[in-house]
Symmetry: C2
Amino acid sequence: MNDTAPRLIRSVGVWLVASLTALVATADEGMWLFNALPKDYLKQKYGFEPTDAWADHVMKSSVRFNVGGSASFISSTGLVLTNHHVGSDTLHKLSTAEHNYAEDGFYAKTLKDEIPAPDLELNQLVAIVDVTDRVKSAVKKGMSAAEALKARRAVIAQIEKESKDATGLRSDVVTLYGGGRYHLYRYKRYTDVRLVWAPEAAIAFFGGDADNFEYPRYCLDACIFRVYENGKPAKIEHFLKWSTDGVREKELVFVSGNPGRTSRISTLAALKHQRDVRLPYVLNFIRRREIMLQQFGLEGVEQERRAKDGLFGIQNSRKALGGMLQGLQDPRLMQRKAEEEQKLLAAVDRDPRLSEARAAWEQIARLQKRRTALQGKGVSLNTRLFRIAQTLVQMAAEDQKPNAERLPEFRDSGRDSLLQQLFSPAPIYKDLEQATLADLISWMIELRGGDDPLVEKILQGKGPRDRAADLVMGTRLDQVAFRKKLADGGADAIASCDDPMIVLARVVDDEARAVRKERDEIGELERQAYGKIAEVLFAVKGTSTYPDATFTLRLAFGPVKGYVEDGKPVPAWTTMGGAFEHEKRHGGKEPWKLPASWIAAKQTMDGETPFNFVCTADIVGGNSGSPVINRRGELVGLIFDGNIQSLTADYVYDDKVSRAVSVDARAIREALANIYHADRIVRELGK
Amino acid sequence: MNDTAPRLIRSVGVWLVASLTALVATADEGMWLFNALPKDYLKQKYGFEPTDAWADHVMKSSVRFNVGGSASFISSTGLVLTNHHVGSDTLHKLSTAEHNYAEDGFYAKTLKDEIPAPDLELNQLVAIVDVTDRVKSAVKKGMSAAEALKARRAVIAQIEKESKDATGLRSDVVTLYGGGRYHLYRYKRYTDVRLVWAPEAAIAFFGGDADNFEYPRYCLDACIFRVYENGKPAKIEHFLKWSTDGVREKELVFVSGNPGRTSRISTLAALKHQRDVRLPYVLNFIRRREIMLQQFGLEGVEQERRAKDGLFGIQNSRKALGGMLQGLQDPRLMQRKAEEEQKLLAAVDRDPRLSEARAAWEQIARLQKRRTALQGKGVSLNTRLFRIAQTLVQMAAEDQKPNAERLPEFRDSGRDSLLQQLFSPAPIYKDLEQATLADLISWMIELRGGDDPLVEKILQGKGPRDRAADLVMGTRLDQVAFRKKLADGGADAIASCDDPMIVLARVVDDEARAVRKERDEIGELERQAYGKIAEVLFAVKGTSTYPDATFTLRLAFGPVKGYVEDGKPVPAWTTMGGAFEHEKRHGGKEPWKLPASWIAAKQTMDGETPFNFVCTADIVGGNSGSPVINRRGELVGLIFDGNIQSLTADYVYDDKVSRAVSVDARAIREALANIYHADRIVRELGK
């Protein structure tokens, strides 16, 4: 929905429901906080006791791609391993009609050939501080939602600013258990990030949309970047060594990454809102965008290239969210959720100390109605150029206020990251912007009706296509220098600017802010309600639980393990040689056409090399690019997908048939050495 | 939306708004009734006076494909020319995994090789009788909507039955001017229809979805059938002779065909309903179906083949309806419509005899609110198997009632056509049925909410996919003999049947009928209101107007004429040789890949032969396959599309840039002779 949201493997950016701890952690369920690992469980079940040093090493070897994914350091010289589909945003931004790195792959033969990404920000988590008491105490009893929101924002802004000033580190206060706990996360930021190696899209995403979320798979969904500091490869203390002997069937593995959003403990009312209101709405939009991008791509080879990155993301979201909706539409899943909720409510009724919490469930049910009323309201014109305009307009206004009172994204502590995005030199394709904006204006007319006063102000008497052409062709916001000039000029520059896109952002600002205000107030009231439910959970289940995913670092785990589907066993592994058979089975037609590099290396590579494998670790979107690690803290794999049965993981964990899908580290190494001849990289990885 | 609706070039089957006469017939506007041709206008502007004999000849040479298209007789021996995309329904039904006639084309080398279509019905209009007075007098003042509907249905059923009994001909009472006039149309039915020739899809739909509704074009969108009687080629008295010298620039041509639905005189309130409610809803569904069919096709080559016919139809609809919505979302078009309405209302205010009519506009505005409330209600499970079940269940119930009281589709007069469809031996692909039904159940949950009682009855505790599998795998309705047995068994057989699809149709019947009743009542009230508005129009504009399209035979006309787009002239014609250049411009990639037959004939065919051309005739969906005729009543072309600028033709006619697109008759002949070597057919056409 919002193109600025992190693009995660399961597109969880579109999920807005508050998240909470899991009700019942069964089997190897859980996305655990690094400062609260399930040490007892691991010791008891697997005889493994993660030391603090082990946890610290894994945490600091892990990397977050702010664009919406996970990664890891894999050398002392700054090499970073992630998925091709996490790097693809950058690959597309670096590509041109002449050099299509996203499609054809890339290898920097020397250090000098490594290409700087235009706007990547990588984060390394270095410390976690519990600030729950300070945040909670700022909100007093009897405050209205607006007052509470203001107070909470103020204290969080203050905490972040103090931390940033004291340490120089990116400092984010994270809401956990939907409002039950608040932790301050400190990150080291890397913003000089360069592309080292990427394979062809044909093998990174072998089988395309058809094979996506399926298993068995044959994908080299990997690429390598390098972080620099002061123009030189950064020196990295904590990085993952490449396992020399790989991973075996039934072996316990760990996944360290940033799952985006889950809703495991949403109340039944909140899940029904997702089922009946939010997901259908989002999926309608997704299909609309998918068709729009397909149509744009039909116009020519270059248009197809320009549309491709967006198309991949949207198709991925459509399949993922479609799977989630299927889950919610299954009465059996809802029945299970209803029973769990009944148990919690029974506990509330038994314990007088918890009786106040009953109102929290009712509150959340009421808030879903407010959410429903908000659906389709607001201003949905999120093209890149419009977002730039809106950011400039709102930043100028927000900067007039004290730091503590601003909208969170305009706080001082986040300004570096904000400006990096705002001044990104990544190419903006005006033809694609225009088609996108025309469709969004049409959509807004559909949502608000053609006689809506705001629609009339936007259209200025023209149809959506003509109006989009005026706006996109007329704006100068595609020029970074113009953006900088406007940002430097502040409120005066914005007020006097006649750039049509800035004018549009000004025209719609009141409405955008009104809807934002309502949404934020609902969020605040939900945080308060879920905070109370969290206390019930802690009382009933103890505090040895994990909070719902928040796109922050978590540790999941489980054995490598095949499964049974329609009565047939699905082995845990595929092999690189299997890719050739998979191509043959599909007649070598796209998207099952192997790249020339693989055809050429067929005889010399080791076809027996394990290629993809599955394990039971509890992951969702955002985990894409997460390292899979063995007990010794070595790299054995690279998460890139979940199978189709795992798509209900937003609500329930299951280890019968749900699986996380990884590229085997041995395949990456074999490919680097014997297909892509990336010898200097192989040397850097050590043996 | 409803797969049983005629599939017209612009998918007008989804249009439900009442239609009316055009306000102002400017330029060469108009889809004229054959019993009310604009003789004066033609004489004055073009010096052409169509005689009664000319009109009768053209009318009887015209053919309607009940599946949703137009055609013409082109020989005394029963040959029928239409579009490939009109015949494609049959081409797909005749195709198998082994013989893909829809894709690869077909030519019957001898009469014996001509293949019978499984369920085609072709109609030849032979007589029109005005029955307005009899229909109107059946509805008395003071009747409620339900009473009026019942009375109107009864008199129409009676008229149709009398006509059928007296003549043996198919007899349909057609509502014209939205309720201002009622005409009885008598048709000769042809039900033994055989496939003679079809080209490859690659050239019939050259450029695919990308080129659809664009111009210039290079499509051989043609195919030939033959009607039989008593097992022999039917003897046809009225057929179109092939023009020997073709058509020239600026020459006046006529189009005789069956435009589906237009809404030129819908009130502003009705148009706003289309803009803000109906079209967005339909387009959401269309995108959903398009994605579903794409996904199904990804599963394999055979699945792709099975999905293709549906995919073409849905993509065509998406582009057509998208264009219509763009038109309605343009304030300039709505402004023009508002001004026209104001003029009419001013006339009402000036003339005391018309004052009663003012209420009609208000009534229609109120009815749009009832339409809005109905949106998404009802039972939307229209797969082929479900429709068969529903037809059987409803037919058994309706047949208990006297003929005059039944739902119109179950009247005695239409029983032959109904049973032909119901007992069609056309293949039913259970895998595609299952995927479609699962998606429709999901959609119904989205529309009604997961807690809806009817949804619970449909799901029976399972998710949509599992439930669809039970229903489709469990039903025997794919067997024609089983359908016949149930139909013969009547109400008892239906009541005791435990086939899961029949059970489902019984479970949802109350709800389906309740929604149908409300929709029919709205329709009745709209007919009454538009009937009054029609009288205003006749008073203001005179009766020399044409009614909105009703998928019945009309005559349109206009000169062959290029146009100017973005400042550049677009010539009226393309040539067959141009197809090779068009292929080259697109790198020979699908869908711009010419078939082998064309490559082979490149040197021997005449590349200068005119291929496609445009004229200004006023057409919409349903006109696909219409013959283009010169003053001498000879065939010069074959309508197959409109350009993108013509997509607002549902509301307004324009001859500046809107164009009807045809295959030149000379190209069809050249292809038959020198590419497909269909010598016996060329001989039958005469020289």
